[in-house]
Subunit: 139 residues, 2 copies
């Protein structure tokens, strides 16, 4: 297993619309995707392209959203997770479990249409890590 | 101004050595720089290369370290900031100030030897943003 590319940094926000305006005005973000809903995961998301990676803005889909708790603690929002690509999600999960890491649930389809899992922050020094199978076209 | 490349994600840790071991074991990180001290900034840092960006591990240099407070609130560590590259730090600072952002201090030399500044998290939805002038060799 080799450390894969950083697909995105996940950033929780109470308002994707307000965050888009901030990135546009202060940093000159221009390649901004259309926000879309992921009701199965309880979030709305929007990807902003930097030249080498993406920022994933994440807004709660409803009050039961898994990021509602994060925003309760951090009302303004903030960095939520980092996502690294892996060539094979099942091999990655097996490797993590074999090394004692706590993988949260089974692989499921993520915002980019490929399987993802999250790893418990306690395994990564307080940082929530998402692993995402690289889109096939990127190989 | 255009959104520049994500130079690194800054991750606070109580122990760079322990974090290196985690990234190596769980994610297969192989390109790991030698940790070094930045006493003027009150931190020790270590860069881990992903194929497209870097993780900057940050450990307090001493008790007066600017990240000592972060680790008090988050003893295990966690995501601390994101750093985007800009072609000209003074132009970036002028642009940010003209748009009402709070730039923290004057540009100073950062871990990669080029000028950097931090922008107050309140301007970026709770996220601490570092701007770093791109190394000249990268132009």
């Amino acid at each position: 297993m080799n450390l894969g590319r950083l697909n995105h940094v996940g950033v929780a926000t109470p308002s994707i619309a307000a965050s888009i305006e901030t990135y546009r005005t202060l940093l000159g973000a221009a390649a901004i995707g259309e926000p879309f809903d992921l009701p199965a995961q309880g979030v709305k998301v929007c990807f902003i392209d930097a030249p080498n990676t993406q920022i994933e803005l994440i807004e709660p889909y409803d009050q039961n959203s898994p990021i509602a708790g994060f925003l309760k603690k951090n009302p303004a929002g903030g960095q939520h997770h980092v996502c690294f690509e892996v060539p094979d999600i099942h091999a990655a999960v097996a490797h993590l479990k074999a090394n004692g890491a706590t993988v949260l649930g089974e692989p499921r389809i993520g915002a980019h249409g490929t399987p993802i899992v999250f790893v418990h922050p306690k395994d990564f020094g307080g940082m929530l890590v998402e692993l995402m199978e690289s889109p096939k076209g990127d190989h």
